[in-house]
């Protein structure tokens, strides 16, 4: 039996030299006359160990990392093909503490399988949810999703089942399923990892949504900054053939506008227009893509559905705390020692993620501020690190969990600068439809500049402006930019002196 070696093809692994590792492996193998099969899997999300090379042995998948091309001759000399000892040897990766302490559900196949192989997906339990859904009435599928407690993972945490029911109840012949893969938030990469590591799970979730809502056409809107994800999605779709039956999926490439992650701006963009936010109502579930009822969900939301069908609503519902049910793939980013993907049920504290998983800062200095939930999320000071990772607990301290991105900063951070950046980003990305956001963000930058130049009396004006943006903006771009600004001001006033 031939030996199988896994070398991730995930963007993060590529950025750290995975292709060079593959080239060196192949060259050395040719030289030594050694034969094995290389599979380009996704990443397990232990980024300080990428490129993480795994060899399938009788004792499980033995991992080595971080491997560079220069390490390859030494790895052969150490008989890594049979799991031999070497300074980079990490043992059986499945029991590696960072992974073993997680509860991988939605991303459990990411980094494990060949993302472009439907056969591999099915051999690892994929496809069962869709098989079951095919024998259920649409209303029963919707009920299972509702009962699971699943809430949208794109940021707003709206109950998924309720959204699906609205589309199911709409009586038109043409409906659509749209996957929001715009993942514009800094500090987030779970959508990317899912698409690059286990795209079939996303397709399956979308096809189940199609059965539930009565739609036979799906779009995946992927940001243009993710060319590798787009390539993997297209290759996997091709390989999946007619597995999804009547349901057809098309990948659409976005064009670098953050606000097109807002669902109605995304619809405009797919329709071929400028990505300007639509006024609501009507809800997209009533009048969405091309004016038809449309289910819009995030990548992780769809990818969570197959397991809910296959293992039952209560399996999912039993995990989590309060009204936050199931798991969330958190993303540890920024100045953090062990950055990566941590999928756990809701309920740990932010501190546990930052220190027990993340190991504190990468720089070795104390962590001072942590932004959770992307550019529109609040900065949390050390005194709030014990907040429980739960949508409502975060709301209670004036913060948001959003898409689960966690960006750590050490004590060299200047919070007035971060507040200014939040306003600047809003000015850059505003769709321009409403004044508080379009003009207010530019005024915000100017006011913060004046404060930084010593005009402390302008702080009140900044608060007023934030109030106007919060209450007068049409979408969260304008109404939530005050989160990072005010949290910086409230928790780190010394930086504004």
């Amino acid at each position: 039996m031939s030996i199988t070696v896994y070398v991730p093809g995930d963007s993060a692994a590529l950025a750290l030299g995975a292709d060079e590792v593959v080239a060196a492996l192949t060259a050395e193998a040719t030289k030594l006359g050694s034969g094995f099969r290389i599979v380009r899997n996704g990443s397990r999300g232990l980024f300080w160990l990428e490129p993480l090379v795994e060899v399938v042995t009788d004792h499980g998948r033995i991992a080595y990392g971080p491997v560079t091309a220069a390490d390859i001759p030494g790895l052969f000399a150490a008989n890594f093909l049979t799991g031999g000892n070497h300074p980079l040897h990490l043992g059986n990766i499945e029991v590696f503490p960072y992974l073993a302490r997680q509860q991988r559900v939605t991303l459990r196949r990411t980094g494990v399988i060949d993302p472009r192989s439907l056969g591999d997906y099915q051999a690892h339990g994929g496809g069962k949810g869709l098989d079951l859904a095919r024998n259920l009435a649409p209303a029963d599928i919707v009920r299972m999703v509702t009962d699971s407690g699943l809430r949208g993972r794109g940021g707003a945490a709206f109950p998924t089942g309720i959204k699906w029911k609205t589309v199911l109840d709409a009586s038109t012949t043409q409906k659509y399923i749209v996957c929001n893969a715009d993942e514009g938030d800094s500090g987030t990469f779970s959508d990317r990892m899912q698409m690059e590591g286990d795209p079939c799970c996303l397709f399956e979730g979308m096809a189940i949504a199609g059965l539930a809502a009565g739609a036979n056409k799906g779009y995946i809107y992927v940001r243009s900054e993710y060319p590798h994800a787009i390539a993997t999605l297209n290759a996997a779709l091709e390989a999946a053939g007619d597995w999804l039956g009547e349901f057809r999926i098309e990948v659409r490439k976005a064009a670098g506008a953050y606000v097109c992650g807002e669902e109605t701006a995304m619809l405009e963009s797919i329709e071929g227009k400028r990505g300007i936010v639509r006024s609501k109502p009507p809800l997209p579930a009533i009048s969405g893509l091309f004016g038809q009822p449309t289910v819009i969900n995030n990548v992780i939301t769809f990818a969570s559905v197959p397991d809910i069908l296959a293992q039952g609503a209560s399996f999912y519902r039993e995990m989590g705390v309060g009204r936050s049910r199931g798991t969330l793939p958190f993303q540890l980013a920024g100045n953090i020692k062990y950055g990566g993907l941590v999928e756990v049920p809701f309920g740990l504290t932010l501190r546990e993620l930052l220190y027990d998983f993340g190991g504190g800062s990468r720089s070795g200095r104390p962590l001072r501020a942590v932004q959770v939930g992307g550019p529109l999320g609040a900065y949390l000071p050390e005194s709030q690190f014990d907040t429980v990772l739960d949508y409502e607990a975060f709301a209670a301290v004036g913060a948001v969990l959003g898409h689960g991105g966690i960006v750590a900063f050490d004590d060299t951070v200047d919070m007035a600068k971060q507040a200014r950046y939040a306003m600047k980003f809003c000015a850059l990305e505003s769709c321009g439809k409403c004044t508080p956001c379009r003009i207010g963000s530019t005024r915000g930058v100017e006011i913060i500049d004046r404060i930084s130049a010593g005009q402390i009396d302008q702080i009140e004006l900044l608060r007023d402006l934030c109030d106007t943006m919060t209450h007068g903006s049409m979408c969260a771009m304008g109404s939530m930019t005050p989160y990072p600004v005010l949290s910086s001001l409230n928790h780190f006033p010394e930086d504004f002196q």
Binding site: S11, A12, S224, R252, K253, G272, N335
Partner: protein
């Protein structure tokens, strides 16, 4: 636009015009083929898709990804979003501006590449990614580009 480019544009439009919401896919394909979107493509696309020129122009200018002028020999994107800021991207971006000041490379900011645990992140020509880029590593990457071209 040369005759050849014009043929390319015509065939791209012909291949995609029946897609619902065909404009973005068409613009992507043209930019991929020509490196940018010359002004001459606007009336051509407008006519084929039954849109006004203003609508096509408006879409091209709305999106950061689309360019109306030819880029340099390579496009270098330095991530300037929060997670990379936490790892020193501001200093890297300043260094990059200085280093590429008189070069024929195009330097642009990008707001997240999904490599937020291993920043500062850099992307060169869309598909080549680099992590934990220090100013020294940046110079080496740019040096390697020079050798190739």
């Amino acid at each position: 636009m040369t005759d050849i480019s014009s043929d390319i544009v015509q065939s791209i439009v012909a291949a995609k015009r029946e897609l619902p919401g065909a404009l973005l896919p068409i613009l992507h394909d043209i930019q991929h083929a020509l490196g940018y979107l010359p002004g001459e493509v606007v009336p051509l696309i407008a006519k084929q898709l039954n849109l006004s020129r203003a609508e096509v122009h408006g879409v091209i200018t709305y999106y950061h990804h689309f360019r109306q002028t030819p880029p340099g020999s390579h496009v270098v994107h330095v991530c300037c979003a929060e997670a990379c800021q936490a790892n020193g991207s501001e200093a890297l971006a300043a260094h990059a501006r200085e280093r590429l000041k008189d070069s024929d490379l195009t330097l642009e900011p990008v707001y997240c590449l999904g490599l937020c645990s291993i920043g500062p992140a850099v992307q060169i020509d869309e598909t080549t990614l680099h992590a934990r880029v220090t100013p020294e590593k940046f110079d080496a990457l740019i040096g390697a580009l020079g050798e190739r071209s």
